[in-house]
Each structure stands twice: as structure tokens, then as C-alpha cells.
Amino acid sequence: MKPFDYLRPDSIDAAVAAAQAPDAVFLAGGTNLLDLMKGDVMRPARIVDITHLPALNGIERDADGGAWIGALVRNADLAFDDTFAHDFPAVAEALLSGASPQLRNAATVGGNLMQRTRCAYFQNTASACNRRAPGSGCDALDGLNANHAVLGWNSACIATHPSDFCVALAALDATVEIAGPEGRRSVALTDFHRLPGDDPADETVLARGELIVGVRLPAEAAALAWHSRYLKVRERTSYAFALVSAAVGLAIDSQGTITDARIALGGVAAKPWRARAAEAGLIGTRGGVEAYAAAGRAAFAEARPSGDNAYKIRLGQNIVARALARAAAGTPRELPALPGSPFATEAGELAHV
């Protein structure tokens, strides 16, 4: 392991200042960073340990129903906060569908946003990867790419963002609160991660030294709580990243008309992918099997395979349709035993299949 400096600042300003140094990284849960360092994928010169910063550990509620989540809140603590899970069930379901209990106990909100792609060529230092080593090329393009992007990719990079949590946040119009040398700013979660462009290594809007301090969920997000689900398809029942996932939220009025619809996709692009056209097609309708299938098609209208992954398009369409059907049927009173899983079913839910 490359030797590095270790700093443990006691204020946000000090942390931001410490991270101005070249090759500095913030350390929170370390569930991704430490693995990457062990594999020489990341070789930081300076570790800025933010785990002792004050006031980033809380979950705060606004008077209007919105929520502020500190960047250091652990995934498990957030998912098992009953009030939070009640108002933002898709977020809790997404969190609990990810990783393992041990990882969820360590991983943080801010770290989740900052996690790197699981593309094998990014993780393997002998391989060409524009995201890890700018200008080196993309070995995934003609390599093993069954799990790669079908939306928003280019020939520079076909990797996907692996987060579940961010998908739910994207659907709910979350914003990311950032502290930097110039002060504080907020960015929409859907604008936080960048698509590959010319330089896939430029993964987020964060400038050098900028630190995520929290994530804010607006009051409107809580209004979707009655019809809000996360659905994730993967090769095994737990401890696996999504092939494709979807977070959806619906607002349905007393007449059965959909007045708001949110659809975000995971595992399909270098960022959590908001499917706004598909949402627009649902608003004003009464939903139903055909409408949900149409939303699935709309969500993937611009999708194209980046390799051996055409199946993800059909799979994604079906996931959107199923997630919408589940959401329309109503958020379960308690999270199912297998959160986010196709096997987390309630009796009768799939009678239309």
C-alpha cells in the first residue's frame, strides 16, 4: 500500500482546507475507498478522515415534512429510522437492498454518493480505463460488458454507477449540500454525477476539496410515501449490485388519477438515471398494466446496448412496469423481508402477470 498522510480535522472548514492538497481523499465509512486502495486502484497521498466532524450525523426534519440527512449517517441507521422510513420508504428499501448488513453498518450517506463504478476494468489496474487512467482507453468496450450501461454512455466509458440509494434520491428530487473553499452550495442529485463526456474521470461536480455535508429531501418527496417502491434485479438474492433497478413514486388522487410520478433507474448509466419522459406520460392517467408498460418503454426509448447487454433494456422496461404496479398497489406497511427484491411479494400483487 502506498504510504499516505492521515489527517483527522475537527471542523468542516479544516477538512475542506486539508483536502485542497493534491491526491487528497475524504475517508468516512471506507467501504469502497479502502478496497480500492488495497487494489492500488486509488493511491491517495492524503487521507482526510471526516468521521469525527461534528453535526454531520443527524437526520433532521423540516417543519414542512422535508428531511436533511447528514453525510456521516450510516446506511443502516437511516434505513432503520422509523420516521424516515415511513415518509421515504423507497429510500429505505433501496438502502436495505444494497450490500450486506455489515457494510450497511459502516457505509455512509456521503460515501454512497461518492462510490466508484464496479466495472471490472476500472478495478483492474492492468486494464485500460479512461475513468481510472484518463486517456488509456476503455477495455470494457470490447470486453466483458454484460453489466454495462445502456443509457448515456459513449466510447470513452460504458461503466455504470452502482448505487441503490442514489436511485431513490434521484427519483425524489434530492439535493446534495456541499461545503467548499468558496462556502456552501446545493446541487440536485440528478446533476451531481456526470455522464462520461470526454473525461470519464471527472465523475461528479465536486471541485477539489469540496465535501458533501448532507442530502436534503424536499417535502414533496414525502407526499409520494403511499405509493413508493424500489425494485432491483440481480443474479443472487442479496449482496449483489443491480443489473437494473428502479425507484418509483406516485401520487394518486381520490379519483385514482396519477398526479405525480417519479421514475429513476439504476445500473443503466454512469449516474442514477431520471426517466422524466416516462413520468410525464403517466401524469393525468389512471395507470394500469398498459400504462406502466408504456412507461417502461418510454424510460428506455433512448437506450442502446454498449456490448453484450441488450437484455438490460427489456429487463429495465419490465422493472419499471413492475415497480409502478407495486407502487400503485400501495407501499407496504412494513418493508418486506427481501427489500427491493422481485421475491418481496405480497399475496395477490402479481395477479395480472
Binding site: M1, K2, P3, G39, D40, S100, R118, A120, Y121, N124, A126, S127, D139, D142, G143, L144, A146, V233, R234, E235, R236, T237, S238, Y239, A240, L243, Y311, R314, L315, N318, I319, A321, R322, L338, S341, P342, F343, T345, E346, A347, G348, E349, L350, A351, H352, V353
Partner: protein, 758 residues
């Protein structure tokens, strides 16, 4: 010697015999509390840390290593390369027997697979050694690797498959059988490279004292390991001491001494200090063995009544470019289904991977998934229930040899597992069962089988003056429960209670216990222990009946029985004395017996000896999303005598879950250009997790086999893999109508229109 204090066994049944008791692992508390000392836990004084640098190409040569940069890194003590590696007495590219493998121990600059060791950095800390290895920044002259099993032009017929089995076998006329068939099935199945992935890597702590070598390293076969090291280093086997009290899994990859372990010993010799070398998880995908990929073609002929007229099973497999191990996949078809004509054959292609080797169910596992899939396809072609089809083709004698089975309760396995599973309610047609949530439900069946394997083992049993016993043998516990099951046999062999019997194992200075492999360790070592105990008792009886002061004086020795620490004249409880009394009067500290365990060649000549079983699987498949979940597994196994039902059930569970992984998860993903394994970690090389095992049952079918060995033990370690993988594949077909012939079966297979064969 045992390095842990055995936990006193829990409350025992009133009866005194230990064999048959479902005792908990005697070392279980030590393991879960972390006090059990595994190889990498050892830190002798002055120890240094060694880290391997491994190749990132699969074929070519190393053209440069920046040794100066590595040595300049603070803490780095030495860099071992082909230029300075201590000499060996034996060429590591030579091999003498099927259990010896060629090694990559820096004998030259050649690279023959990705992740091959190319240098070793030794440092004061693990971190410094790791960074030193990174600083070597190797350069290569790379050549294109051969990676594809399908390179037909390069295929050849090996001299043997597995550890010395014939490449081909036949009975009857297969072509005539196919010609006369009213239906024929011709199907090809593919299985991928799989890696053992024991939790514990092949760690070694090596310390030299002159020409004497002490190592801590996990080994399934310490005597073989010692012999291998002795040959390489040109020293006497007696000058090598191996401690291997616990293995964090073996599964076949810890049977031979492998390159990283030899490199650890070489590094210790180079720096003349104790050295620890622990491969990283990624480094385990190369120099430490794997199960080679197969492409298997099954041709079946069927008559009008659903009976086989011919069974042909050909397996293509791979080996490395420099060594031989060929997965004997087709040989599963020798034993399971009656057919007047059977032929099995193998060929192979050499690829730039590490050398394949034994992996849990070598041959049987990959062969079974193909055969059980083909049998299921044949049943469907005949319009028959898969169980009825198997019963119609039930083999009353071993089909390939015509020998009678030493015992075979497969029929009872089918019947009891089917009853437990509820098989009678199965709907014949595929894609016709749904659950209340609309998920497709499928029920499938696979037959399990595994041969009775025995190696050779020795044991010694001692009765001490205080009336307690000591039984010693260099047995190896991979987690299968040898510490417990063999101790149970040991206690009974001396007719002592378990808590009055000390059992020592796991070190190379004990009697040779042979190989913990082939599902044969309990049978082999158990029979050695049993013989040693009986020998000790016989000596004690001789002392008693010859002693004028003994109440047993003059009783014919064959009429004296040993009962729980006492010798007794037949049924005459009044005429008896304790072991301690016999020894005390004789003024002896102890009496020692010896025993051996090995296969009886005459019996093997007369009988076909196999364990059998049946596995029933229920899977659910989401019809739109393609995700697959095994919701129930029910297995029934007849495997001879059961020493410890709890350990045996655990072995069946573990192997059935392994079969689940085989069917749905395990696959090494090799980059088609570089030959690098791109999922060399436990996040992306998938094995089942807890949530994948929704319901599992293993029924033990009582089986008395008077032929296999004195104790009647067959072996339970691997059979559960067979049958299970096929049962799951067959259940997926039954659920969806999709017959997937390339393993593992995944989500994309369930969404691909072409895969549906109804």
C-alpha cells in the same frame, strides 16, 4: 498436536457409544471466538512479511522488474526474483505422480497464465511488502494467449483423466443402440472455470533452522506436502514439521503444496528469517488450482418404454499449457443409469490458465449437471415424469462394469425425498405451475452419486495408566468435523467415554493420516483409528489374561470384551477389572496399539462401491424479470454408516449449497483478450449467500454396507454437489420451459427468447 483446548462435549445421550451421537464441533467455540490458531495467525519472533508480485499477462515473459525501486522502499528487506531465488534440488517443472503438480516458483522469466507469481518482496511489514511489489512495475514481452476451449483444431486425447483414470470406457455398442432407438437426444452442456475460494487463503509461515523447516500452512495432505517440500529442498521429510490444525476450507485446492507456499519457504531461506506469505484473494485465481471448464455432449437413445438403449457422454475439458489435470466429467455416466450400451470419452485443449485440479466433486460435479440435465430432457421427450423415468432406468448393478453394488439404497432415497418434497403433486408440463404471486414455479430432480474412496492412513491408540486414552493421527480438519467425528471413533475404539479420550491430529509428527479428500478421510482414518484401538485393547487383554493376579486370568483372550474402561469376561460383569488396574499391576505407564486404514483391493475387485442420493429442488422464476430463486431443496442420501449426524447433515447442506452455486452462480469471467480473470474477488465471483438458501433439508437414509470397510463408512463430503446442480437446472426448465445448457444459469437466460424450448 492439538493447539486448542477442546470444549467439553454437551450433555450426552445415556448410552455410552460416541459413534452416532450428533455432537457439536469440539473446536466450535474456539473457532467462533477467534482462539483457534490458523496458519496466518502465527507470528514467530523475527518474522518478515512476503508479498507476491503476479503477472498481468497470460502468456509471454517478464522483460523487466524495477527491483531497485522496490528495495529502496522503506521496510523492504529483499526482493526474490529468478536471479536470486535459492536453488532447489528438484526441477519444479518435474512431476512424479498424479497428486504432484508443476509449480511456478521463479524458475525462469516465463509467464504461462495470468496471476502467475513473478517475484516476491520481503519486508518488515505487510504494507511495505505490498508497496514494494507494486513498485516492481513489471514489463513484459507478451504473446497472444490461447484461452478458448472450443479450439477444436488444438484438441487432443489425454493419457488419463482425473488422478489416473482411463480417458475412455465403453460397454455394449452405442451406435447400434442409438440406431435402434425410437427417440434420440443429442445435447451439449457447458460449465465454466470455477475457483475453490476457501475462506482461508493458502497462507504459510515458514521458519528454517539450518536444514530443518517448520511451517504453519493449511494442508489436506500433510505427508504428501512434506514429501513434496523434501524433494524440492533436498532435505529429509523428517526434517520438515508441518502444523495444520485447522483449514478454513480446502475443497481440493489444499491437497498439494502449491507455488505460493513453496515461495514462502524459499523466501524464508533467502532472508534467513521466518517469513509469512498470504496470497491475496485475487492471487488465488491462478496458481492455486481451479475446476476446468467443460463442454459435454450427451447422446441418448430411448426405446418406446422410456428405457435407455444407449448412453454416450463425451467431455471436452482444459488443462494448462504446462501441466496436466483433466476434469473426468464423463465418468459419472458409468454408474448411474442402466443402459445396454455406454461409452464415455474425453478430450482436451490447453489454455493459458493455471493448472486445473481437484475441486469438490472433481468430474462428478460437472458431469452430473450435464447427465442429470440430459436425463431430464430424455424424460420429457418420452412424456414421462422425471422420477418415473429414472426408476425405469434404475441400475441394479453397475452399468459399466456389471459388478454388484456393495450396497445401494438409491430407491429409498428417491422415495423418501420425493415424499418429503411432495413430488406427487408435480404437474408434468413445464411452465404450468405458478405461486400466489404469479411467479413461475418449477420442480426438478437430480440423482446424486459419489464413489467410495479410501487413501491410506495410520493411527496409534494408547491406554494410559490412569485408564484414559490417547489416539493420535495426522488427520486434517477442513471444517468437515474431523476433530469431532474421528474423536468419536477414537473413543469407541478404546471403549472409553469421549471425555476420557484425548484425540490429537493436525500435525505432521503424528502417524500419517493420508489425504483429507475424495470424501474418504473419515472412512480411511476412522478405520485406522478403529484398528489401532482394537490393537491396544488386544494387548491389554493379553496382559490381563496372562496375569495370575487378574480376575481375568486364564480366560481365553477372545472371550474378553472391553466395556467403557473395563475388561470383562464375556457377559460376566462380576469378572472384570479396569484398564488402570491391569496397567498398574504390570507397572506399565501405557499400552500402545497401531492400526491402518486402506481400501481392500479384493473387495474393490468384486463390488462397485458408491454412495447415492436424490435431490429435489423447487425454484421460482419471475416471468418478466428473470430473477431465479431456489426456494426449497430436499436431499436424501445413503452413504453408509454415519459417525456424527450433525456433521453429516452439515456436509450435505454445504455440498447442496455448492450445487446451487454451480447451477446459478459460480463462474470465472476471463477477459477474452488478456486472459485476466476479471471477477477475482468474492463480490463478483458469486457463491450463494444466506438469502439464496431459503429452505434446505437433508435426509440420511440408513445404510449398512458390510463390504466397504470395517466401520461401513462411505463418505459424505462431495455427494451433495452432484444431483443438486442438475435438479435446479431441471427445476428452472420446469418453471419456465427454458432449457439452459450453459452454466451458470442467469437472468439474461430467462429473458432471451431463443432459450425457450417449451
Amino acid at each position: 498436536m492439538s493447539d486448542f483446548a477442546p470444549i467439553v462435549a454437551p450433555a450426552r445421550q445415556p448410552q455410552r457409544a460416541s459413534i452416532g451421537q450428533p455432537l457439536k464441533r469440539r473446536e466450535g467455540v474456539a473457532k467462533v471466538t477467534g482462539s483457534a490458531v490458523y496458519a496466518a495467525d502465527n507470528h514467530p519472533a523475527g518474522m518478515l512479511y512476503a508479498v507476491m508480485a503476479v503477472s498481468t499477462i497470460a502468456n509471454g515473459r517478464v522483460s523487466g522488474l524495477d527491483v531497485a525501486a522496490a528495495k529502496a522502499h522503506p521496510g523492504v528487506v529483499e526482493v526474490m526474483t529468478p536471479a536470486n531465488r535459492p536453488p532447489l534440488a528438484k526441477n519444479p517443472d518435474d512431476r512424479d505422480n498424479p497428486f504432484m503438480f508443476r509449480l511456478d516458483v521463479l524458475q525462469n522469466d516465463r509467464v504461462r497464465y495470468a496471476n502467475q507469481p513473478i517475484a516476491v518482496v520481503v519486508a518488515e511489514t505487510f504494507e511495505a511488502a505490498t508497496e514494494g511489489a507494486a513498485l516492481l512495475a513489471p514489463t513484459y514481452d507478451a504473446e497472444p494467449p490461447q484461452l478458448h476451449m472450443n479450439a477444436d483444431e488444438a484438441a487432443f486425447v489425454p493419457e488419463s483423466v482425473g488422478p489416473g483414470a482411463p480417458t475412455q470406457a465403453a460397454v455394449g455398442d452405442v451406435e447400434a443402440g442409438l440406431a435402434s432407438a425410437s427417440q434420440r437426444l443429442d445435447a451439449t452442456y457447458e460449465t465454466p472455470d470455477q475457483y475453490h475460494n476457501p475462506m482461508e487463503p493458502h497462507a504459510i509461515v515458514a521458519a528454517w533452522d539450518g536444514d530443518r523447516l517448520v511451517i504453519d500452512s493449511p494442508s489436506q495432505a500433510m505427508t504428501i506436502a512434506r514429501g513434496r517440500l523434501a524433494g524440492l529442498f533436498g532435505i529429509a521429510a523428517d526434517d520438515i514439521f508441518i502444523r495444520s490444525p485447522f483449514l478454513g476450507g480446502g475443497f481440493g485446492c489444499k491437497g498439494a503444496m502449491m507455488s505460493p507456499q513453496v515461495l514462502g519457504a524459499l523466501a524464508a531461506r533467502l532472508v534467513n528469517r521466518p517469513v509469512k506469505l498470504v496470497p491475496t484473494r485475487a492471487q488465488m485465481y491462478g496458481p492455486l488450482g481451479h475446476r476446468g471448464a467443460t463442454r459435454q455432449t450427451l447422446r441418448l437413445g430411448l426405446d418406446d418404454t422410456g428405457r435407455l438403449t444407449a448412453l454416450s457422454h463425451h467431455a471436452r475439458t482444459t488443462s494448462s499449457v504446462f501441466d496436466e489435470f483433466f476434469e473426468p466429467a464423463a465418468n459419472i455416466s458409468h454408474t448411474l443409469y442402466a443402459s445396454p450400451a455406454i461409452s464415455t470419452s474425453h478430450d482436451a485443449v490447453r489454455v493459458h490458465t493455471g493448472t486445473p485440479m481437484f475441486m469438490r466433486g472433481p468430474g462428478e460435479a460437472s458431469g452430473s449437471v450435464a447427465l442429470e440435465s440430459a436425463i431430464d430432457e430424455a424424460a420429457h421427450a418420452c412424456g414421462m415424469d422425471p422420477l418415473a423415468f429414472r426408476l425405469a432406468n434404475y441400475a441394479e448393478q453397475e452399468p459399466i462394469s456389471g459388478k454388484p453394488f456393495s450396497s445401494k439404497r438409491l430407491y429409498d432415497c428417491y422415495a423418501q425425498a420425493a415424499e418429503r418434497f411432495g413430488w406427487a403433486k408435480r404437474v408434468l408440463a413445464p411452465r404450468s405451475m405458478r405461486d400466489e404471486n404469479g411467479l413461475c414455479v418449477g420442480w426438478g430432480l437430480g440423482t446424486a452419486t459419489f464413489p467410495v474412496v479410501m487413501f491410506e492412513a495410520e493411527a496409534r491408540a494408547i491406554i494410559r495408566a490412569d485408564g484414559t486414552g490417547v489416539v493420535e493421527t495426522g488427520a486434517q480438519d477442513m471444517g468437515q468435523g474431523a476433530w469431532t467425528a474421528l474423536a468419536q471413533i477414537a473413543a469407541d475404539s478404546l471403549a472409553l467415554e469421549l471425555d476420557r479420550t484425548v484425540f490429537n491430529a493436525g500435525a505432521s509428527d503424528l502417524p500419517d493420516a493420508g489425504v483429507a479428500g475424495g470424501s474418504g478421510h473419515t472412512a480411511t482414518v476412522g478405520n485406522a483409528i478403529d484398528a489401532a484401538g482394537r490393537d491396544a485393547i488386544a494387548r491389554l487383554i493379553d496382559m490381563a489374561v496372562d496375569d495370575a493376579d487378574s480376575p481375568l486370568h486364564g480366560v481365553p483372550a477372545e472371550q474378553v470384551v472391553a466395556r467403557w474402561g473395563r475388561l470383562q469376561a464375556g457377559d460376566d460383569a462380576a469378572r472384570s477389572e479396569s484398564y488402570a488396574d491391569v496397567l498398574r499391576r504390570a507397572g506399565m505407564a501405557e499400552v500402545e496399539g497401531h492400526g491402518r486404514g486402506r481400501a481392500d483391493a479384493d473387495v474393490a475387485e468384486r463390488y462397485a462401491m458408491h454412495a447415492h442420493g436424490a435431490v429435489f429442488a423447487e425454484v421460482k422464476v419471475d416471468p418478466d424479470l428473470g430473477q431465479i430463486r431456489v426456494t426449497r431443496l430436499v436431499g436424501a442420501f445413503a452413504a453408509g454408516r454415519v459417525i456424527n449426524p450433525r456433521m453429516v447433515e452439515s456436509q450435505f447442506f454445504g455440498a447442496m449449497i455448492w450445487g446451487l452455486g454451480f447451477a446459478l452462480h459460480e463462474k470465472a469471467e476471463t477477459d477474452p483478450r488478456s486472459g485476466r480473470i476479471m471477477n477475482a474477488d468474492l463480490a463478483e465471483y458469486r457463491v450463494p449467500v444466506n438469502a439464496d438458501v431459503a429452505g434446505i433439508e437433508a435426509l440420511v437414509i440408513e445404510e449398512h454396507d458390510p463390504h466397504v470397510n470395517v466401520l461401513g463408512i462411505k463418505g459424505v463430503g462431495e455427494i451433495g454437489v452432484t444431483g443438486t446442480a442438475g435438479a435446479i437446472a431441471n427445476a428452472v426448465w420446469h418453471a419456465t420451459g427454458r432449457r439452459v445448457r450453459r452454466f451458470p444459469i442467469g437472468v439474461a437466460d430467462m429473458l432471451d427468447d431463443d432459450a425457450a424450448t417449451g
